[in-house]
Amino acid sequence: MDILITGLILGGTYALIALGLNLQYGVSRIMNLANGEMLVIGAFVAFTLFTVGQVSPLLTIFLVAPLAYVLNWLIYRIMLRPLVNRAKNRGMLEVDAILTTFGLSFVMVGIMIWAFGGDYFSYSYLARPIVIFGDNFGLNRVVAFLCAAVLCAGLFLWLNVSRAGMAIRAVAVSPENARLVGIDVPKLSARAFALGGAVTAVGGAVISTFLTLDASTGVMFTMKALIIVIMGGVGDVRGTILAALVLGIGETFVASVIDPGLTLVAAYALFILILLFRPQGFFGRKPT
């Protein structure tokens, strides 16, 4: 029970981060390998505001979200759009996007180390125990989970109900046909990329309430988010959330039963199973 709840709580925050990545990949078709750094930046802003001005991280997200939106929009327009335009085919864009976002990720880590040093940062926010089903859990973890759950639900509703959300889903399914029904695909790609970045940064601010991070931890989160997106299926919100919870529980299980140093091995075991048996994701159809 303990493992299940801890896993669910961890998975909930993973879901938020992976949703950001999935939004970016599903719509703009760019696998953003600098996604984890956006998370660290969000976490870092939350940390700074809390230690300097005692600002609650739950308020910080209202600052982080628009900032990250603008930053990611600029990244897309200035750096990625030219690659989309010059690519002769999907494969070329893929390679260019991988190299560029890796480059960006390293540049961001480099700048953060240069500006703030490579130390770990953490702060103590709501670090009180709370009892659920007879077991103790950190209140900050529970609050972070609730926060992530509210945001995921909000995003899910927005994608399914609103006009803009509908357009985004249309592009995710088929960019060519979306263009035919009058959707401005390039504009929407930029917006979805920006929104995805904002969601991930908010996830970073939330996760910083209970995890210790440093400038170079981003790549770990990128990797987990990527594995979740692949498990859940590209462009599939339900799948992403389910996959995040599975990964959260799987990791917690391995960490508490076998060894906390094996979390990535656990994630990889899941990844390999998915690659071998359901490469199209949990709910995905077989590609034809």
């Binding site: 690659l83 480059g103 390293f106």
Partner: protein
């Protein structure tokens, strides 16, 4: 063999002979730089053998390299050095085959993601195993000097070039070029695309593991965090792409300037290596697509056009 092929072979042998004279300078710093350059040349060239034609970006070099060092580290007490090198290659190759079979059927993104975490995952696994058995690292004590390591790496480089040249002339090499251009067409002309890709990935995995085994005596004491450094994978990718993967000699042209730059930056600004890595990636994408080889071909093409007009 054609005449210009003999000529290339002659030049290559002469260059190799000159390179082999480096230890005679007796300058420790130069020799250690030579070891680095030779090591990266082997790694980047074998990386490009696979990734050049297929466009799959492998970040698994560090994993194979680390496994090679561990094979040497754990076997040196039991088996002779010269037996361990092929064993390292064999284990690296088998691992590459397994990874390749699981991921190379799928698109490039899956492959990158998988290889990205491979080194870190193996490191976690080795650390866990060592904790279980209660020792932290292993000593590799041999009487091999930097000179010996350098010569071995040069020999391996020569071997990799020969293999690369042979593949380039073979059906397999032709198949890979077709796969790189259009995988659907490749399947429809009768190519076993998965097997061809796996075969080349096995070559690069085996070579990286052998390099790890050769380098191991240099570390003396091996622990997971020194053997599996994810940075190595990225360095190799950058060097190969900077030089260009279109020709066999391409990666070498990238290795030399980048190794010198890396040495300079990491000795004067040790915290800025990450930034350097990032900027290099961006520079390759935006300023030098195709690397130095691409630039050379473009210049040559322009010169040919000019002389045709004159």
């Amino acid at each position: 063999m054609k005449r210009d092929e003999w000529k290339t072979l002659g030049w290559a042998t002469a260059l190799l002979a000159v390179a082999a004279l480096l230890p005679l300078t007796g300058d420790g710093y130069l020799i250690s730089l030579g070891v680095s350059i030779a090591m990266y040349t082997v790694l980047a060239t074998s990386w490009a053998l696979f990734s050049g034609p297929t466009h799959y970006i492998s970040l698994a070099t560090a994993a194979f390299f680390g496994i090679g060092t561990y094979v040497m580290g754990s076997g040196i007490e039991v088996l002779p050095y010269w037996v361990l090198l092929p064993i390292a290659g064999l284990i690296g190759g088998v691992l590459a085959a397994l990874v390749g079979l699981a991921t190379l059927r799928l698109s490039g993104v899956y492959f990158v993601i998988f290889t990205l975490g491979l080194a870190e995952m193996t490191r976690q696994g080795v650390t866990w195993y060592q904790n279980q058995t209660g020792h932290k690292g292993t000593y590799v004590l041999t009487d091999l000097t930097d000179n010996d390591i350098y010569w071995q790496l040069l020999g391996l480089a020569a071997l990799v070039y020969l293999v690369g040249w042979g593949i380039g002339r073979s059906r397999l090499g032709f198949a890979l070029r077709i796969i790189g251009d259009d995988e659907d067409v490749a399947r429809h002309v009768g190519i076993n695309t998965a097997l061809s890709k796996v075969a080349l990935f096995v070559v690069s995995g085996a070579v990286a593991a052998i390099v790890g085994a050769i380098i191991a005596p240099r570390y003396v004491y091996i622990e997971p965090s020194t053997a599996f450094t994810p940075m190595l994978s990225f360095q190799v990718v950058i060097m190969a792409l900077l030089g260009g993967t279109g020709r066999l000699w391409g990666p070498l042209v990238g290795v030399i300037p980048f190794t010198l730059l890396w040495e300079a930056i990491s000795s004067s600004f040790p915290n800025q290596t990450t930034l350097l890595l990032g900027l290099s990636f961006l520079a390759i994408v935006y300023l030098l697509p195709g690397g130095f080889v691409g630039l050379y071909d473009r210049l040559k093409g322009r010169a040919a056009k000019r002389s045709a007009m004159a």
